[in-house]
């Protein structure tokens, strides 16, 4: 019995220690981001691999999510005779929640795992060590550009996801089902506040971008330099990032969308 508690305690202390280590790593990456920002070409290159390569999955998923929202939304609203509010439903769901969250989850599994695998593999094949031997800081040269690429790409991807989704909702609602086009757009415009809804959604996606990319680069850099080590690290990136996104989403939503009414 005592052994069980002992092991639990060890697990907790290890996690806390790891969190501290991850936080110091994060601070180190930020401090050594000079190269990534001065030689912006490095960051742009990583934005290609993280952002541009994720475009297809983001756009397609956004379209499908929007279309489903259109279908399900209409299904429920028309029971109360409010089918004209479909535009509001689709737009708010996407801009406030689904856009940042789903694109964050997709980004974590596509780009996040790729970043972890890449950095982990470079560590396993001693490329990072070789760089250090050549007096080039691998965190500044390899890690930081990938971090900033992720942070910059996430809000753009989330915006494109939401835009595609609204278009999908429009396709299904207006073109397919026959909701009034004018009502669709005008009611949407009247109810979606750019500051309250759109901007908050952007802020969410930036926070998710920081969290996901931080986890991805950390797991890669910290991976055991073997095949199993790297594969374990990529799995951990996807799992931890996904949980982090969902947890942060709750916190941010509570802060952003209920704070006004709590007055």
């Amino acid at each position: 019995m005592a052994e069980l508690f002992g092991r639990l305690g060890t697990m907790v202390t290890r996690r806390v220690w790891q969190l501290g280590y991850a936080a110091r790593f994060f601070a180190y990456v930020l401090m050594h981001s000079g190269t990534a920002l001065r030689r912006f070409g490095l960051t742009i290159r990583e934005m290609y691999f993280a952002g541009v390569m994720s475009l297809v999955i983001i756009l397609v998923s956004g379209l499908f999510v929007g279309m489903v929202l259109g279908l399900q939304g209409y299904e429920t609203l028309q029971r109360y005779g409010s089918s004209e509010a479909l535009g509001i439903l689709v737009a708010l769901s996407l801009v406030r929640e689904l856009g940042p969250v789903v694109s964050g989850l997709l980004f974590a599994s596509r780009a996040g795992s790729a970043i972890t695998a890449e950095i982990g593999l470079m560590k396993a094949t001693e490329q990072l060590a070789a760089m250090e031997m050549m007096a080039v800081d691998p965190i500044a040269r390899v890690v930081a550009p990938r971090f900033w690429a992720g942070v910059l790409s996430m809000p753009l991807l989330a915006a494109l996801f939401s835009a595609m989704g609204i278009f999908g909702g429009y396709l299904v609602g207006v073109q397919l089902i026959g909701v009034d086009e004018g009502a669709f757009w005008s009611q949407m415009q009247a109810s979606v506040d750019w500051r309250q809804d759109v901007l908050n959604g952007v802020i969410k996606s930036i926070v998710f971008g920081i969290a996901v990319t931080w986890i991805a680069v950390f797991e890669g850099y910290d991976a055991t330099p073997t095949a199993e080590g790297v594969s374990g690290a990529t799995t951990r990136t996807v799992v931890t990032s996904s949980l982090a996104i969902l947890a942060l989403d709750f916190v941010l939503t509570a802060l952003m969308f209920t704070g006004g009414n709590a007055r």
Binding site: M122, T125, E126, Q127, A130, M134, A135, V136
Partner: protein
């Protein structure tokens, strides 16, 4: 060039991996550090390169006490060092040319035409100028190691460290790499440390050799002295004998009783 005195080190303080190492590497020479896998020779190399800090003793590299330097000064010192990693450690997302040009682009402001010429020169020295546009994945093991060598000498370092350069190569590539290590050392006025367990290739090119076992220096001398050595470990190593101070059998209970006992595993 490199002087090590009474050095001790352990990854875990309680279990030292290196005990009381005394080593001297005069400028201009090629020195071998040999021993079995796991005897600590790679750890010693990392201490010399400044990756690890000794627990006790002194490690003087290129005139500086490398254990006492802060990160920035270690980096500055590394500009004068070159290291060849066991499997090359080439950057897989760049061409051979970009790999060799890496240090020049990172540390100097040289114009691209000049870099192009310098890279061509370095690749010519290792015989791979024609492979400049290939990607590392297209290279054989021996070629990759030669490119890594060209990359390591890109900024003409004074101290070269070779971590098991002969591992896994065919006889021709072995000969090529060995010859390159010696000629580069002499023509570029370098000092080289070769960590290896390949007796023949190593003895052919080194001026002096240190033998290590279980984290200690057990013997040292010129290759000739080592060949004739009566020291048990050295003669077992040099001749590749299966049994000697290093036993063939991993410690296990007696054979017959073990076979007769209940199945295990």
């Amino acid at each position: 060039m490199v002087e090590i005195e009474k050095l001790s080190f352990g990854y875990d303080r309680a279990e030292p991996v290196l005990h009381d190492i005394d080593l001297e590497i005069p400028a201009g020479s090629v020195v071998g550090i040999m021993g079995q896998s796991g005897c600590g020779k790679t750890t010693l190399l990392r201490l010399i390169a400044g990756w690890l800090k000794a627990d006790a003793g002194r490690a003087q590299v290129l005139g500086e006490e490398i254990g006492r330097l802060d990160a920035r000064r270690v980096f500055a010192l590394r500009r004068k060092m070159g290291m060849l990693f066991q499997f090359g450690a080439l950057f897989t997302d760049m061409t051979v040319f970009d790999n060799v040009a890496f240090q020049m682009r990172e540390h100097t402001e040289l114009p691209e035409e000049l870099i192009g010429d310098l890279v061509a020169m370095k690749l010519e020295a290792v015989g791979l100028r024609g492979a400049a546009q290939l990607m590392p994945s297209a290279l054989s093991g021996g070629m990759a190691r030669r490119v890594a060598l060209a990359r390591a000498i890109a900024l003409d370092p004074t101290l070269m460290l070779y971590d098991e350069p002969f591992t896994g190569l065919d006889p021709i590539s072995l000969g090529v790499i060995a010859r390159l290590i010696r000629t580069l050392n002499d023509s570029l006025d370098q000092t080289s440390i070769v960590v290896s367990h390949d007796v023949e290739e190593c003895f052919a090119i080194v001026d002096y050799v240190y033998f290590m076992a279980a984290g200690r220096i057990v013997a040292h001398g010129t290759p000739q002295e080592m060949r004739g050595s009566k020291e048990a470990f050295v003669s077992q190593f040099v001749q590749g004998a299966t049994d000697g101070p290093i036993p063939f059998h991993y410690p296990a209970p007696d054979y017959e009783p073990d076979l007769a006992a209940a199945p295990h595993g």
